[in-house]
Amino acid sequence: MNEAIINYTLHLADNSLILGQRNSECCGHGPILEQDIAITNISLDLIGQARNFYQHAASLKTDGSTEDSLAYLRTEREYKNCLLVEQPNGDWAQTMLRQFFFSQYQYLLLQQLQHSKDEQIAAIAAKSLKEVAYHLRWSREWVIRLGDGTEESHQRMLKAIDELWRYTGEMFMPAGYEKDSGVDLITLKDEWLKKVNEIFREATLTIPEKIFMQSGGKEGKHTEHLGYILTELQYLQRTYPNCEW
């Protein structure tokens, strides 16, 4: 039971950390200054959430783990994030669509988690929800702007959907440790699809026909991309163990 809560907390932390790390790659590379600032602000929020979840997981583990050891010293197979968040940034359309898919999911998830029987998870969820509302509004607007924009931006959005849709199903497939989380994934999935459908309609985009959904990330089986992310993320602690500044 306790093991399940620890793993679930790590899963929540890993989702936020990996997407935060991915978004931070845009720092200094955003299409214009304001959007560069926006996506790096979102990175900061996500990494802040990850820290809170890692601190909570560390306190539950009682084996000397810290937020830092959990982020910097676990291997790829120990990471429990969804495949979606580790996918490359691609172009701006892909970065925005990934953010929208995740923020819409996270927004609905945190609404449920703020009533979690684990008080700390509930507190982190309630606090993070306020920030995620901004992420969702912003990424949603971008999906509409690009989907219903020029021929070029529309094509890019179609390509992004083609690239990312296959990773969305996993969010709603419960991992073993997720069963006692108190989250109703069936309702979550219905609400998520409904919202995505609404935004896609406005963006003149359509949800793809039934396709095979990739999964495994929640159980530590990742796409080839995560290894590269962790290599960069963990470089300093791996090369200079225990270094601080």
Partner: protein
């Protein structure tokens, strides 16, 4: 009145002097992040809450509180971070809001809980302003431009 209560008043006045490093006109009391002050025997415990989860100023604020309290002679200090209830700009003091405006940052305004055009320009007081981005130079601010005086300005978002 007990000795501890007298200390609490002195202490509050002292904490008024500790500023937010990113918005240096606001004290940590103005921001409403000090949630509780208590004594556990000879240990002084301060319960603080972060504004935004990823706000990098929090670590610095914690360090500053420690250093400043040490100069006051407190030997045993414990700083506890509390997450619930989540911080809200409703806890910002009225004097804090006034100081923000004088500093050139539009204070939180309920009518703009979701940022949109029209927040009052802190420089020329026009409402003919436009939202440039819901994300600004720090997590707590949005970016605006005044269409009358043309100056860009920050708006401290409702949270």
């Amino acid at each position: 009145m007990t000795a501890h209560e007298i200390d609490k008043k002195t202490l509050l006045a002292f904490l008024e002097e500790i500023k937010d490093p990113e918005v240096p006109v606001l004290s940590i009391i103005d921001l409403g992040i000090v949630r509780d002050i208590r004594w556990n025997d000879d240990e002084l415990e301060l319960v603080i809450t972060s504004t935004y989860t990823g706000c990098p100023a929090m670590d610095m604020i914690t360090a500053n509180i420690r250093t400043e309290l040490a100069t006051l002679g407190f030997k045993k200090i414990k700083i506890t971070q509390s997450l619930s209830p989540a911080w809200t700009t409703d806890w910002m003091s009225e004097s804090g809001k006034r100081k923000l405006k004088e500093y050139g940052i539009a204070p939180p305004d309920k009518r703009f809980s979701i940022p949109k055009d029209g927040v009052e320009c802190p420089l020329c007081h026009s409402n003919n302003t436009r939202l440039v981005s819901e994300f600004g130079s720090t997590a707590c601010k949005a970016l605006y431009q005044c269409k009358d005086c043309q100056e860009p300005f920050d708006y401290f978002k409702c949270h």
